[in-house]
């Protein structure tokens, strides 16, 4: 319901001088802290400044929400876990235990080796991504408006504030490349450097076709983290964009459309978290498998 008020507010705020395109672009840009071209560090005040910073910048908004949600969930779990008993569990403990058991079952199905840190990894990834995705269901203007209100006190006019971390490729790729590093680490640990290399070099066509094999296998290997990160990013970015389009174009009349899209999107949110977790398990399982010839 507050969505209506938000839209009205947004329309009034941006009003006549803000076109739908500007509204959407504003919502898709980040609160950026980085190194200005002249060498000093600070917040970017305009999108141009953010672009000029290039690589030497942090997306404060998405990184904050990512850390807040992931850290908050883990601290909450730890708090519940401290109080947990093996008696009949109370509601909250039961809830956390059901998530725990859900992840544990997926890991025992998909991961056929002994490694006690894989299940916690899957739990972290699943819960973290699920919460980050859920931020997509918060009406698109709520948190940015709060941020703009706070920004006024720091001389930031029309501050950008992105609240869905998984619509930032830095976040999704940051996770998927961390998992890629684990794939490499566990592959070398379990198969040896030579075993790992021979998997890439002597497969699928035998050692006389080594260059050709490498040409196939290395892109396949690299495709894993890239597809893992971009799949999540793409799904959530598209969802967020559609919310923005509905909000920008329809203003006050967005509610039914917003609701319909939210209903669809609520399927995407856990599904993408689940897919990310399952692929993490599968990739790491493959990294533990013996050498195949």
């Amino acid at each position: 319901m507050a969505e209506l008020a938000d839209a009205a507010h947004a329309a009034a705020e941006h009003g006549a001088e803000t076109t739908a395109q500007e509204y959407i672009t504003h919502h898709l840009s980040y609160l950026t802290f980085g190194q200005h071209p002249d060498g000093h560090w600070g917040f970017a005040h305009t999108m141009e400044e953010a672009t000029e910073m290039g690589f030497m910048a942090f997306h404060v908004d998405t990184l904050f929400w990512s850390l807040f949600l992931g850290g908050g969930a883990l601290l909450f779990f730890r708090w519940i876990g401290k109080k947990a008993t093996s008696d009949v569990p109370n509601g909250v403990q039961n809830f956390v235990e059901s998530i725990f058991e859900f992840v544990d079952e997926r890991v025992s199905e998909g991961f056929n080796h002994k490694n006690p840190v894989i299940a916690p990894l899957a739990l972290t990834v699943f819960v973290w991504i699920l919460l980050m995705n859920l931020m997509d269901l918060v009406p698109v203007d709520w948190l940015p408006e709060v941020a703009i209100f706070i920004g006024h006190f720091f001389g930031q006019e029309h501050m950008s504030f992105k609240v869905v971390p998984t619509t930032d490729p830095n976040i999704t790729l940051g996770m998927s490349f961390s998992i890629f590093a684990l794939i490499i680490y566990y592959s070398i640990k379990n198969k040896g450097a030579w075993g790992f290399f021979s998997e890439l070099a002597f497969h699928p066509f035998g050692k006389w076709m080594m260059p050709f094999n490498l040409m196939i296998e290395i892109p396949t290997l690299l495709a894993k983290p890239i597809s893992l990160g971009l799949r999540l990013f793409g799904n959530l970015y598209a969802g967020e964009l559609l919310f923005l389009v509905i909000s920008a174009l329809l203003g006050l009349y967005q509610l039914p459309f917003h609701f319909v899209w939210a209903a669809f999107h609520i399927l995407v949110v856990p599904l993408q978290a689940f897919v990310f977790m399952m692929l993490t398990i599968v990739y790491l399982n493959a990294a533990h498998d013996g050498v195949h010839h």
Binding site: L67, F77, S86, A119, P169, N170
Partner: protein, 156 residues
């Protein structure tokens, strides 16, 4: 797509969270779940054992009940026998006692009769002497008559 230092921030957070979850969160829940699993298994086992115990106890109680019934029947039987025996014995004793009492009474009667007869005999002698004294009055030798009378009394 603007890749920035954010990607490293996220990666660092990833490893820190992974470490935290593996060491500080996961063990808490896996311990609790393991413990509960163990307790449930123990409970089920105890229930199965109790079931078995119950069955054994029921069998034992059935056996004991049957035994008790048999013993009770035996005891009643013996008691009945004993009772009729006692009745028989009592009857026998009573008969004997009766006979003895009758015999005693008869003997006593006999004795009484003899005593009465003796007394009667003596009194008859005395009466005869008294009668003869009266008849004869004086001319009688006391000593000779005495002798004669006691002979007579002995003949009676």
């Amino acid at each position: 797509m603007d890749i920035t230092l954010t990607i490293f921030g996220q990666s660092a957070a990833f490893f820190v969270f992974w470490w935290f979850c593996s060491t500080k969160v996961w063990p808490l829940f896996s311990n609790v779940l393991e413990e509960r699993k163990q307790r449930i298994a123990d409970g089920l086992e105890a229930a199965a054992r109790a079931q078995k115990d119950l069955e054994l106890a029921q069998n034992a109680s059935t056996d004991q009940l049957r035994e008790a019934k048999e013993q009770a029947a035996l005891i009643i039987d013996q008691a009945n026998k004993r009772a009729s025996q006692i009745v028989e014995e009592a009857k026998g004793k009573a008969r004997e006692e009766g006979e003895r009492i009758i015999a005693g009474a008869n003997a006593e009667i006999e004795q009484e009769m003899n005593r009465a007869r003796e007394a009667l005999r003596e009194q008859v002698g005395a009466i005869a002497v008294a009668g003869a004294e009266k008849i004869l009055e004086r001319s009688i030798d006391q000593a000779a008559n005495e002798e004669l009378l006691s002979k007579l009394a002995a003949e009676l």
